[in-house]
Amino acid sequence: MKSHVWRPLFVVLAVIALVLVARKFLVPSDFGIGARGYMYGWHRAGNEQQWKEVKVKYKTARYCMECHREKYDEIKGSPHANINCENCHGPALNHPDDPRSLTIDRSRELCARCHFRLPYPGSDRGRIRGIDPKTHNPGLDCVACHWPHDPRKEGHKR
């Protein structure tokens, strides 16, 4: 058969070869079918490790307890026992090395997250003792009168 008949076939073969070579270089070697098969598991396996290495920022109250035992015991023995240190003190990160000290959120808005009175039936929010921040001593920090580590005690002077 004449060569012009074969020519398109060679072109197609060359394109296929080019794609295969490019694929070899562009697709990471660990790309493949994971545990969930083609439909849900087609991925680059190394990415799982990347996600596992994300830094933990919230270290939980247990971490704080190692140095601040008396503070931990105080709040865990109070009606605020359910609140973790980092909710108000911010994430521990690598404290005490970095940051050296944590920024404490003493704002009224922080307390109002739970103690702004919303009388909702069907939600435990309705059972939390609450106030209206607009009328309850506006402008004053809550911690002036209420000690957050144990709300049964008087507030602290700063």
Binding site: F31, G34, A35, R36, M39, Y40, G41, W42, H43, R44, N47, E48, Q50, W51, K52, E53, V54, K55, V56, K57, Y58, T60, N82, I83, N84, E86, N87, G90, P91, E109, A112, R113, C114, F116, L118, P119, Y120, P121, G122, S123, D124, R125, G126, I128
Partner: protein, 260 residues
């Protein structure tokens, strides 16, 4: 010329051959058999108690910080919705800033900085519903990804490969729960992954650790002694948008028909 006898014989042979399913011809694959026999490892699931949630939004704050989602951008991996069902049968839903700062107003946020005031006497039911990725058993967001940048791990968590995502947004459109969004910094698809870096270390997710009321819990469905598994197996739990066939793995206690 084909005889009647040989025609019948051949027809039966072909029909019989077609009836043998492909799977019957497949040789034993030891890896697959092992996988089907004993599914070792975890299957992470989530349990939300809508009665216990008070809408403080600490979970949203904790999640944003832990997972480096820009704090002031109006995107979040998890959020809390407020449902107020009034006596006239209307359902009012809002989630100001995803409840990052809780719910600082009694009025319902109807957008453009406006609030719709609802008097306490008008309320029939009112409650909060935390939302997060359902880590579906049939994740539609994974199916639609054209490049294999999003996938499900063996323990059921759906992850996004930030280096491989091309930002086409199919997954964001494909998720019926609206949990996916574009990360404003990385400019790729972003979603809740049950704090994968925490749960594989035996920790709780950031939202579970910041929740002061036990409204959120994460557990391993393959561990029959896991307290979360026990609740899911014995209590009246429900899931969101079951009709989509996605098999969501975030279970809710106290869900009502108004919750979408």
């Amino acid at each position: 010329m084909i005889s009647r006898r040989s025609f019948c014989k051949k027809t039966l042979l072909i029909a019989g051959g077609l009836a043998i399913p492909l799977s019957a011809l497949e040789l034993f694959d030891p890896k697959r058999l092992l996988a089907e026999k004993d599914e070792k490892g975890a299957r992470w699931v989530f349990l939300v108690d809508t009665q216990k949630c008070v809408g403080c939004g600490y979970c949203v704050k904790g999640c944003k910080v832990e997972n480096e989602v820009p704090y002031d951008a109006n995107v979040t991996r998890t959020w809390v919705e407020r449902y107020i069902i009034t006596k006239d049968g209307k359902t009012h839903i809002d989630s100001p800033k995803g409840a990052r700062d809780g719910f600082p107003n009694k009025g319902i946020d109807i957008g453009h900085g406006k609030l719709e005031e609802i008097r306490d006497e008008e309320i029939d039911k009112a409650f909060f519903v935390p939302k997060l990725c359902n880590q579906c058993d049939n994740p539609p967001c994974v199916q639609v990804c054209p490049v294999g940048a999003t996938y499900q791990t063996a323990d059921g968590v759906v992850l996004v490969d930030r280096e491989w995502c091309i930002g086409c947004g199919y997954c964001i459109m494909g998720c019926p729960y609206g949990v996916r969004f574009f990360h404003p910094v990385y400019r790729v698809a972003e979603k809740c992954n049950f704090c994968y870096h925490r749960i594989i270390k035996g920790m709780q997710t950031a939202c579970v650790d910041t929740c002061a009321f036990g409204a959120r819990r994460v557990g391993n469905l393959r561990d029959p002694d896991d307290p979360v598994t026990k609740v899911i197996m014995t209590q009246r739990v429900n899931v969101l948008k079951e009709e989509y066939g996605t098999k969501p793995q975030v279970f809710y206690l106290g869900l009502t028909k108004e919750v979408k």
